[in-house]
C-alpha cells in the first residue's frame, strides 16, 4: 500500500479548471455532433422520417438540453480563442487568468439573449 498519494500534474486554479471544462464540453459536443450528423442524414431517406425525428428536438426536455449544449459550445469556443491567444499572442500567457474571466463574462453576455429567445420558442412564450 502506498503511504502517500502519487505525484500529480494537476495544479488547481484557473489553469486547471479552464482545461477540465474545455475537455468536458468538448466530449459533450463531440457526442452531440455524431447524433446530429445522423439525424440530419435522414433528409436523404424521406421528409416524413426527418420530420418525425426532428420533432423530438422541439420537446421541452430536449429544448432545455439544447440550451445546455449551447452553454457548452459558447464556453468551448471562447476558451478555445483564449488558448489561441495564450499560444500566439505575446502577452497571452501573462493575461491567461484575466482572459478566462473574460471568457466567462462573454459566455454569460451571449447566453442570456440566446436563452431568452430559444426558451421562448421552445415554450411558445410571446
Amino acid at each position: 500500500m502506498p503511504t502517500k498519494p502519487a505525484g500529480t500534474l494537476y495544479r488547481g486554479k484557473v489553469g486547471m479548471w479552464s482545461w477540465v471544462l474545455h475537455r468536458i464540453t468538448g466530449v459533450a459536443i463531440f457526442f452531440f455532433l455524431l447524433v446530429h450528423v445522423l439525424d440530419t442524414a435522414l433528409v436523404r431517406l424521406s421528409p416524413e422520417a426527418y420530420n418525425a425525428v426532428i420533432s423530438t428536438y422541439k420537446t421541452p426536455l430536449i429544448g432545455l438540453a439544447e440550451t445546455g449544449l449551447v452553454v457548452a459550445i459558447l464556453y468551448h469556443a471562447l476558451n478555445g480563442v483564449r488558448i489561441i491567444l495564450v499560444d500566439f499572442w505575446r502577452k497571452g500567457a501573462k493575461y491567461q487568468n484575466k482572459m478566462w474571466w473574460a471568457v466567462l463574462v462573454i459566455c454569460v453576455a451571449l447566453f442570456v439573449p440566446f436563452a431568452i429567445r430559444h426558451l421562448s420558442n421552445v415554450f411558445h412564450i410571446g
Binding site: I73, F114, H118
Partner: protein, 145 residues
C-alpha cells in the same frame, strides 16, 4: 503499468513528419473557423423566426437549395468532425494506459469520423429537396412552382 512521460525539453526525433505539430496547428486553425461557422449556424437555425419550431424537411431543403449553405455546412462537417475526433484522440491517449486498447479506440474514432464525413458530404451534395411522390405540404414551397 506506469507511463513514461518524455522530459519536456528533450529534443524530438527528426525522423518523419511531425504529425503532432500538424494536429496542434489544425486544432487552432479549424477552431477559429468553427467559432464563426457554428455561431452563424446557431443564429440562422435557432434565433431567426420561429427558431427550433421552424426546422423541418422544407427548412433544410430551402437552405441546401443554396450552394452558400451547402458549402457552409460541408465545411462545418469536415472541420468539426476532424477537430472533435482529434480531441477525443488526445483524451484517449491521456487516459487509456493499455497500448492495444488505446490503439483500438483511436482507430475506431477515425473510422467513425471517416464514415460520418462520407455520409454527411453525400447527404449535403446529393440531396433532393423535391423527392418525387412526396406529400407536397412537407416540401419546400419552390417544389410546387
Amino acid at each position: 503499468m506506469s507511463v513514461v512521460i518524455e522530459t519536456p525539453r528533450s529534443p524530438r526525433s527528426r525522423k518523419g513528419a511531425n504529425w503532432e505539430k500538424y494536429g496542434w496547428m489544425y486544432m487552432r486553425i479549424s477552431g477559429a473557423i468553427l467559432v464563426a461557422l457554428i455561431f452563424g449556424h446557431l443564429f440562422a437555425n435557432l434565433m431567426v423566426g420561429e427558431g427550433i419550431h421552424a426546422i423541418d424537411f422544407a427548412f433544410v431543403g430551402g437552405k441546401w437549395a443554396n450552394p452558400f449553405w451547402q458549402v457552409w455546412d460541408g465545411l462545418m462537417l469536415w472541420l468539426a468532425l476532424i477537430h472533435g475526433t482529434n480531441g477525443m484522440r488526445t483524451i484517449v491517449n491521456d487516459y487509456v494506459e493499455r497500448q492495444n486498447v488505446r490503439k483500438a479506440l483511436v482507430w475506431a474514432l477515425w473510422v467513425i469520423c471517416g464514415a460520418l464525413i462520407v455520409l454527411g458530404t453525400l447527404v449535403i451534395f446529393t440531396f433532393d429537396p423535391c423527392p418525387a411522390g412526396s406529400d407536397p405540404s412537407l416540401l419546400p414551397s419552390f417544389c410546387t412552382k
